[in-house]
Symmetry: D2
Subunit: 285 residues, 4 copies
């Protein structure tokens, strides 16, 4: 199969690497061309534009930073959507809003292109190992067609529902991510105030039944008090803001999510926006 990949940054390059294989031909594009070098060395063909990729493939993946970047690559000058052959499938792995995903799917459908929103849960290490969780929204047939490719990048694909539902699920997961960080930070603050050593707290909680497993990957941050941004705190603040905006629009109350949102907003106000979101641990102390 001929496969395209647009957006080979930190995440995209790791994901695309799993698509290199004797059975497939891989065409890639990135705005900053140097970021395609690793894939080229593995055998991928580097293209001149999103449209250039699109004209050569049956399936096109995109992994871009935000809705504006997706809009530009898909529908801007030399965008890929008009260049994809009829019957092709576009899999957008970018993190955007449900409403934007539905809008892109409609634009694809108009052009005879199938569309799947497939944002991923997981950061650099699972991307590299092909162990991402993939959250898919779209038509069952379209998804079935690309499933073998998704299986190379992720350990599991959850077919959430129609277009936009993969993106909605990503929003849900991010609120869990935020709240588990809040819970862990306050629980360990309580423990320290009761005289328990920090190491004992980390030993007792991390890897346990009440603790979100991803926190194991943040342990070194807490121990060192260093918060290199894998997922910047300002982005988490924004994601919670968007989740609460969606809840407002849907007419539902989410008091604990709102409380968590305010704790991240306070940490941002205290100047920690560019640190990893796990810096909340220090901010509330």
């Amino acid at each position: 199969m001929r496969i395209g990949f647009v957006g080979t940054g930190l995440m995209g390059s790791r994901m695309a690497a799993h698509l290199v294989s004797p059975e497939h031909e891989l065409f890639v594009y990135n705005r900053t061309r140097s970021k395609t070098a690793g894939l080229e060395a593995q055998g991928a063909t580097v293209c001149e534009s999103p449209a250039d990729v699109a004209s050569r493939v049956e399936v096109l993946f995109s992994m871009l930073s935000d809705p504006d970047a997706v809009q530009a690559a898909a529908l801007g000058t030399d965008g890929f959507l008009d260049a994809l052959p009829g019957g092709a499938t576009w899999v957008d792995c970018s993190t955007v809003h449900p409403e934007f995903s539905r809008r892109m799917a409609a634009a694809a459908t108009e052009r005879g292109v199938r569309c799947i929103d497939a944002p991923v849960a997981g950061t650099l290490v699972p991307a590299e190992k092909g162990e991402l969780l993939i959250l898919a929204g779209g038509d069952t047939d379209a998804l079935r067609r690309v499933q073998p490719l998704l299986d190379r990048m992720g350990r599991k694909t959850v077919h959430v529902g129609g277009n936009g539902q993969g993106t909605a699920m990503k929003m849900v997961i991010n609120t869990m991510l935020a709240q588990s960080m809040v819970a862990f930070s306050e629980a360990t603050k309580l423990g320290e105030s009761l005289g328990i050593e920090r190491e004992a707290l980390l030993n007792g909680l991390i890897g346990g039944a009440v603790t979100a497993p991803y926190l194991a990957g943040k342990r070194d941050n807490f121990t060192a008090g260093q918060y290199e941004p894998a997922f910047p705190l300002k982005h988490m603040t924004k994601d919670l803001h968007l989740a609460l905006l969606s809840a407002y629009q849907a007419g539902v109350a989410l008091p604990a999510t709102a409380a968590a949102g305010q704790l991240f907003a306070a940490a941002r106000e205290h100047g920690r926006g560019d640190e990893d979101f796990s810096a909340l641990f220090d901010d509330i102390r």
Copy 2:
């Protein structure tokens, strides 16, 4: 070794069963005598009183419902503390307060008895499988002496610190338990308000990196809307109240824990105190 076990209810009987072995002799007592029948059938000797158990053993475990019950069994009429031989070790697995644990340890020390507070994280199934997490507070030597016995009941023992620190750690873990239930309930409410099916939400979250592993054991509750009390909501409300009381006394603020506490208080106000604490899932909808 001669071992005693006082309090062989739902949890205690499952824990004590792991201590039955050719190398040890097991003496048990329970206020409601019928609850010792299973252990007796496995070879344990049933005694007439806590003191009767104590007079025959080197190590005594207790697993009782609350501080009042521990106080009565240890220091009331025919209590075990005065009957234990000098140099014996008392391991209290009951869930109490840190300050109470320290008071009991002092009473033991006065009588030449070593004391460990060792509350457990986990409910009936891990108790039965010998896979509890044991949170120990007390002297390192005393703990080392009973470690082989704890290893039969639990998959891991965390030595948190001195007396009372095991109990403090249990309080920390319960706040995590509460907050992860709150996070899960609100996140799925958000997802449903965005049109995602409940089953898809459970599939996407349970077992994932952002979800506390114990929630897998609650999945059937959410699907059925049935909340048989493994851990009653009113007890969770009480535990959060005690955690916030401890935080107040220690002089620290825990805003998200307070918000979680209010959500459980509201569910109790709505009449759900006797359901499992996972009934919060329904209460906030």
Copy 3:
């Protein structure tokens, strides 16, 4: 002086009535013409369009329901902004967003028209008595020119700052309105849970030093459990949402305002959006 008034609904008609006097000539317009009848009987001239009003006056007031209505009346077909003579002053009393007020002021300035944003605090009774609190944003000279007219409608004008600042102040006041209702509702709930009769609570709090004075006007609602909408709960929910959006954009955390916002969101979720915002009192019980 020749004065115009666009938007003579419930509030506007009461405000405009104070401008009827021998010294001035009053020209009015309302989309639903019947709502100008009372003012016509008092001597005002009813006009055919916003532009028709504008072409005849030196000062034009507007009191419209939301930004879209202001936009249409000012800049739509037969809008008043292009019809006002150079040097005229437009006083917008509508409740809008700070950013919208600044945009309107810029549009006015381009056309040689002075602009003041002057939303009001107070509802029907103070409007009728000429006792509104007027929150003004804009140029000092422009404000001085219309101050005698504002003094007829309000007991006090606070000159908050430049354009948009009157509107910003209205947003601040609405958050106070919301939080005082929340505080009163929870405090009386606490009192009732401690066995104090509702009447005794109302007697002890209303009119007192810790209670926002406006609550006296809501007393009958609490006693009767009837919440005729003077200010609908759904609008309060929206205003809090906008305030929190502004705080997010400004980079500041407001945890108690967020908690209040969630309580109103919950009341709306429970179906009380069309009742008065004081229905929160019943909703949290």
Copy 4:
């Protein structure tokens, strides 16, 4: 009438001064004797002990710092309760807990003494002017008997209910006090983040319909950033803690009160416990 007053500190001395009159004879006691000098100069008789006061009067007022001080003065060595003549009335103006008030009333009744709990709302200035708000709990007849004396000290007495209800009402009022400070602090923070000057905010809010009137008396604190303790922040933190404890015991949820409690707890954690509770204004910025 012969009247006693035990506890003539900052508040008590100002209150007792209103009882000096030709019609009455006033007997006073204070642990630190120097604090009775002013009253002595006005004609009061200084006594040697609470019992000494009690043996000479028909009505005895107490105004002491906390339950322990009341317990000691009433029932300790030379306490006043055993020395009061049968049929006398004890009016306790101290701020204590509802349950403590009921306990004291029972002790009085056993001794044939009538008892009223009558804590006051208001601080030094209203005490001096005789304009306190008095919150009374107890029997109607007993209250009627002392009403003329209360009218000298307060502008209004609210008869809340039976014994303990005056004290309960004081708790309710303190939660309003706390929440209005929180609301004011966040609303002005929002306003400043939107570019409104602090003075303009104070002008727009203080004295207005949405602002608790007592905030006028704190204006100088906000302007100067100086928080001399009229009511220390640590006491407010404690009062909120007690209110939430009472709510927990009564089985009701108070989420906004809990959020306010955490903001005061955070301010105390930041070292502001000994400043006035209005220092919250600075703490959240």
